[in-house]
Symmetry: C2
Subunit: 348 residues, 2 copies
DNA sequence: ATATAATTCCAAAGCGCTTTGACACCTCAC
DNA sequence: GTGAGGTGTCAAAGCGCTTTGGAATTATAT
């Protein structure tokens, strides 16, 4: 069943049917209803290839998926993808992926762009001075980045959260509670969000004349095991930290295991604030000691990015080019005043 | 630059240029050369949408990517994807993915099929009695599965390795070396390959009147941490196993850590055979005690699957519908005769 | 009543490719 | 010299949709 047959069936022209289907105003509501009804009955679906040829739009956005463990290996990316996918399905868009050696992301991106299979590109897992940026800019194809690239001029379209602000605020809260010895459970050191979160923490500490010792910062992929191992190390330090900042609730999961095994009480002996990406299976309020968090939904970011990308392709883009989402600081039970015996140790 | 312009530039018809480009025989070699040369100079690339409309082929294969941690979260899938991608790029094919809630894989698959964006479907991570199979068969769209579905009639196109045979052979080798107490570090219990590998082991044991105790089989996602934890448990058993079969070199990595920490010598106190997917960063010969393995390249499987899928779409498919690759059993240093003190414990 | 504007629809022209059916042209055999 | 059989090329017809530029019909203003 194609347009021609459908229109003959209805005794209308292809034009009218096409317009009825695509929501153009110059068609009588009654006729539109009739068309929609016929579509339902016949199961007509417009041919994508023809649509694409006629409009010049493929209805697809491309992304390169590095086939290395680090990048796509975590639940965070899955959650984000879910958001992207949800919105894409809603608009009948689809994703074209290009699996790529991590050493050749730039090349893969270029190949994807010139392949003619995609209308726009999406990139994530930005690093400092990310080499993909200049290439994307040279490409004359719309793109959108999730995150930013530390050290690069921010003159590209992005959606990011205020990582620096989030960890700055979190650190301030802990400072106000009297903590002076901090540890950081962070994501991989080269990633932009990890850089900024660390900066946020360091900035807050600096205001009080404090610093973050080398051995109190851990950079790993964000699994609970890594959270546990790193925290175990922190807890064995001579001046062990009383406050931990954590780049993910997944890391926190492991961290808390380590805290418990050390016989310490979360929220009393040691305070912890985690960044909460709002992963559905890991709600901070359901932890045995509910977690104080900085919150920003990763899925929502996925949805938003899909919206913007799709709007750009459809050329009806009233969206801002650059968005920086604030995070919420939500205080629960995992933070408390610094224990008395730790009050004047370390610090200034 | 399009075909028309290119052909005018060359003083040829569109027909001839098109045929020259697509390798048809009825064009003079000299003309073909001339065309190819012009393509190089002008940078002409055929319009995908037009090609697609004219031929009815999208040049793309679809796969649904479950957005749950387990499925795509491991290096194994990445390695496989690399193979797929490598071959796809070679043929100028691409992948359309549909992120999907794991509970709705079947629906996602259907949506992908009727979206009109793909020529064929690919599925992996098969489970026993996999519900995707009947739906795929009802679809009148070519598909190919990596692995098989235990319990389903094997009347669908697949590429699998002989998991049962691999672990049967591995177990036989260890039995010949006198081992009687076995443990199994396996993948998630519901996955087909895990089921079959366990069956292979159990079958070999049964021939000697042995069995695999409940607490000597571990089913987890295949990370080194899980390998370590599970092995630690094995080693604390009263009748601890002297032989370990391991579904991945990644699991083996952790297992060996546990063995070392327990002060045991690999290949002497305890023997281990791992399945080797030929992950580039994890070569069994580079382990401090080189690993005895059953080997089958996951990347090669990816390449092969892409080849078959592409050939099917292009209708020039001389490939068999079903392939079962044998694995190689490669003996290195991680296997040895059962230690004397363990010789007559346990078993029959 | 007639002129003007909105409303609703249509025929036909693309979009850029592949493929069919024909047509020259050039052997080669008889 | 003619007919058969290749070879190399082309014009034109799709593929199934969107969109342009009218045209017919109806509503509104004069």
């Amino acid at each position: 069943m194609n347009l021609k047959q459908l229109s003959e069936l209805l005794g209308l022209s292809q034009t009218t049917v096409s317009r009825a289907l695509n929501g153009y105003p110059e068609v009588n509501e009654a006729t539109r209803e009739r068309v929609l009804q016929a579509v339902k009955e016949t199961g007509y679906r417009p041919n994508k290839a023809a649509q694409r040829l006629a409009t010049g739009k493929a209805g697809s956005i491309g992304l390169v998926m590095p086939t290395a463990p680090d990048h796509y290996s975590d639940v965070h990316f899955g959650e984000f993808l879910t958001g992207l996918g949800e919105e894409a399905v809603r608009h009948d868009f689809h994703f074209v992926i290009m699996p790529a050696d991590p050493n050749d992301e730039v090349g893969a991106l270029r190949r994807l762009a010139i392949s003619g299979n995609v209308d726009a590109l999406f990139v994530a897992y930005m690093r400092g001075h990310d080499p993909r940026l200049p290439m994307l800019k040279s490409l004359s194809m719309p793109f959108l980045v999730h995150g930013r690239s530390f050290g690069s001029e921010p003159d590209y379209p992005y959606l990011d959260i205020d990582n620096e602000g989030a960890f700055y605020d979190a650190a301030r809260l802990l400072l106000q509670l009297g903590h002076t010895r901090f540890a950081l459970l962070n994501g991989p050191a080269h990633l932009d969000f990890a850089i900024r979160r660390k900066n946020g923490l360091v900035a807050a500490l600096a205001e009080r004349g404090l610093d973050l010792p080398e051995d109190c910062a851990s950079h790993t992929t964000m699994t609970d095991e890594h959270g546990q191992f790193a925290t175990e190390r922190f807890l064995q330090l001579p001046d062990r930290p009383t406050a931990i900042l954590c780049s993910s609730t997944v890391l926190a999961l492991g961290a808390i295991r380590a805290v418990n095994q050390a016989g310490l009480k979360l929220g009393e002996d040691i305070s912890l604030i985690a960044h909460d990406d709002v992963l559905p299976h890991l709600r901070p309020e359901n932890f045995s000691v509910p977690l104080t968090t900085t919150r920003s939904s990763l899925r929502a970011a996925g949805i938003r990015i899909a919206q913007r990308l799709i709007a750009t392709v459809k050329q009806d883009a009233p969206y801002p080019e650059q968005e920086l989402w604030k995070t919420e600081l939500i205080v629960r039970a995992s933070t408390g005043p610094v224990p008395r015996q730790d009050q004047n140790l370390g610090g200034v």
